[in-house]
């Protein structure tokens, strides 16, 4: 066991516990806050993978934007502090079995496959390479521009849906 392995196990366990609480906690605000905790854990995992840009993007986008959006949505759609009643459907056991089976089968697949080892050496300046290949016509310029179109469509759509129409008020 090296130090990095111990650290990985700590972060992974913390993330998974937080994620478990996200799916089981009854109070939805608490679920959203646990989601934030698990996202921070994932950011730490990205750091361990030498993907510092991914880690910061994870925090900026998920913790700083999407989590806030979710908390807003939870607060806008409820009236009481405690969410009363059961928070899971009647056939939750079916869902549990299904996800358990899925996890079992994927882990069997993962553990019986031979994976490449960690390449030697540093990763270099990934952000620079990423920036170049995102606007390189031979690489990802089409996905890059399409992503911006997707986002603008999402913006227009969500404003059209969420904005109360003037007549109804």
């Amino acid at each position: 066991m090296t130090v990095s392995q111990i650290l990985f196990i700590l972060f992974a366990l913390a993330t998974l516990v937080a994620a478990y609480l996200v799916v089981t906690v009854r109070n939805l605000i608490h679920a959203a806050l646990w989601l934030v905790a698990s996202l921070l854990g994932i950011a730490a995992i990205f750091v361990m993978l030498d993907a510092s840009f991914m880690a910061t993007v994870e925090v900026v986008l998920y913790v700083g934007a999407i989590a806030i959006l979710i908390v807003f949505a939870v607060m806008l759609t409820r009236r009481v502090m405690e969410d009363v009643g059961s928070q899971r459907t009647d056939n939750w056991w079916f869902a549990a079995i299904l996800s358990g089976l899925f996890f079992a089968s994927t882990s069997i697949l993962i553990w019986f496959t031979k994976w490449p080892n960690l390449p030697e050496g540093d990763v270099g300046d990934t952000v620079l390479i990423l920036g170049k290949s995102l606007v390189d016509p031979n690489k990802y310029v089409i996905p890059f521009e399409v992503a911006s179109v997707l986002l603008i469509v999402a913006l227009i759509g969500s404003i059209a849906v969420a904005l109360p129409s003037k007549q109804s008020e």
């Binding site: 605000i29 608490h30 900026v60 913790v63 806030i68 908390v71």
Partner: protein, 398 residues
């Protein structure tokens, strides 16, 4: 034993500490962690004690602005007023409101301080003295700051108080709104320096970026003031209008910790402005004596923070719709325009131009943008005045 350089004393001491620890027979990784622990401890102390000084300075200076004396009872010139306030806050009863979500209520202020303190890990004090120079420094400062937004949300929600929750909603919507022009403004120095490392950004400033990107600097300062929630953007906790904002239920030291986070955040925004736009530790003789960089950096930071104070005591509080319009209908389009112009023009300048002439050309471009913006604004306000006078004429005719 490493050589001790007077010009770079603190870094030498750091190396010396590492040497001493490894002489004791510790593993290199343990040594480096202990070194970092000591450095982090000193940095955290510096950051958390600075607000005491800035609060005193602020009270004193704003008192002079308003023709008052300011604190003058505790210690010489009232210097120890901050300590007296801490003693007062720490001995006050700590009330948790009934029905509050206790854990979240307590985590809120701690998280706020943590998020602001985290930014200091990437701020370069001198060319050699920077906590850690990660390759995403400038984006990291935004990311850690974003956790503070969440802390405010937690504090407001857990208080079990309508006004606190409403206050946190307003605060969060202001913070997230002003984050957009702030990040766009930070994109321009990144683009000019070609790196997100804070230290590289300082090194690339043969001419301060405030010359090449004055509008971006101004936008960053304005949105920074809004992020911190100080006057004229303090409508979220306007004492004279609404109760207090998200921290209305906090008492004793918990309230003090919120205040600490707020003042430290103000200081941090000044520090980032100094690093990114005013050349950070740059100044005469830093090449021989890197330690001088701290002095230059702190002078610039305090100048920016005095500028913020000046704005605070001069400009009246804005209305919430004005605050909103200022951001979405003025700062965001303007920052996008500046970004596009800078990107296009800087690429068109031939490569063999010196840094000075390059900055000059970009400065002229910025002036053109300012003139164009002012013309557009004049057109808009004329249209509005015309509409107003039409309305007046209609009312008169009735």
């Amino acid at each position: 034993m490493p050589e001790v350089r007077v010009g770079d004393l603190l870094v030498s001491l750091y190396d010396l500490l590492g040497w001493g620890l490894s002489e004791l027979g510790l593993y290199p990784s343990v040594v480096s962690i202990l070194q970092k622990l000591v450095a982090g401890f000193i940095l955290a102390n510096f950051c958390l004690l600075t607000p005491l000084l800035t609060i005193w300075l602020e009270r004193k200076v704003s008192a002079r602005f308003q023709d008052r004396l300011g604190p003058n009872r505790v210690g010489p010139y009232g210097l120890f007023q901050g300590f007296a306030d801490i003693v007062k806050l720490i001995t006050k009863e700590d009330i948790t409101p009934a029905g509050a979500d206790k854990t979240v209520f307590n985590i809120g202020p701690v998280l706020a301080v943590m998020s602001v303190l985290g930014i200091w890990a990437v701020i370069p004090f001198t060319s050699t003295m920077v906590g850690t120079d990660i390759n995403v420094g400038i984006l990291y400062s935004v990311a850690v700051g974003a956790i503070g937004t969440l802390a405010i949300m937690m504090g407001g929600w857990a208080s079990n108080n309508k006004y606190a929750l409403l206050g946190s909603f307003r605060t969060v919507s202001q913070l997230v709104s002003y984050e957009v022009p702030m990040i766009i403004a930070l994109l321009i120095p990144t683009l000019l320096a070609g790196s997100m490392r804070m230290n590289t950004i300082v090194q690339e400033q043969q001419v301060w970026f405030i010359v090449a990107a004055p509008i971006a600097g101004l936008i960053f300062l304005i949105s920074g003031i809004a992020e911190v929630g100080r006057a004229p953007f303090d409508l979220l906790e306007a004492e004279s209008e609404i109760v207090a904002g998200f921290h209305v239920e906090y008492t004793g030291m918990k309230f003090g910790v919120w205040m600490l986070a707020e003042f430290l955040h103000a200081f941090t925004v000044s520090a980032i402005t100094a690093v990114v736009f005013l050349g950070g530790w740059r100044g005469p003789w830093v090449d021989q004596y890197p330690l001088l960089g701290i002095v230059y950096f702190l002078i610039k930071t305090y100048l920016v923070s005095m500028l913020m104070l000046w704005i605070r005591v001069t400009v009246p509080r804005v209305r919430i719709d004005q605050m909103n319009d200022l951001n979405w209908k003025f700062l965001v389009p303007l920052s996008l325009a500046v970004l596009v112009m800078t990107a296009l023009v800087d690429k068109l300048i031939p490569v063999d131009f010196s840094a000075g002439s390059r900055s000059l050309i970009l400065f002229l471009v910025n002036i053109v943008i300012v003139v164009a913006t002012l013309l557009v604004l004049r057109g808009v306000s004329r249209k509005e005045q015309a509409a107003q006078s039409d309305l007046q004429a209609e009312v008169n005719s009735i």
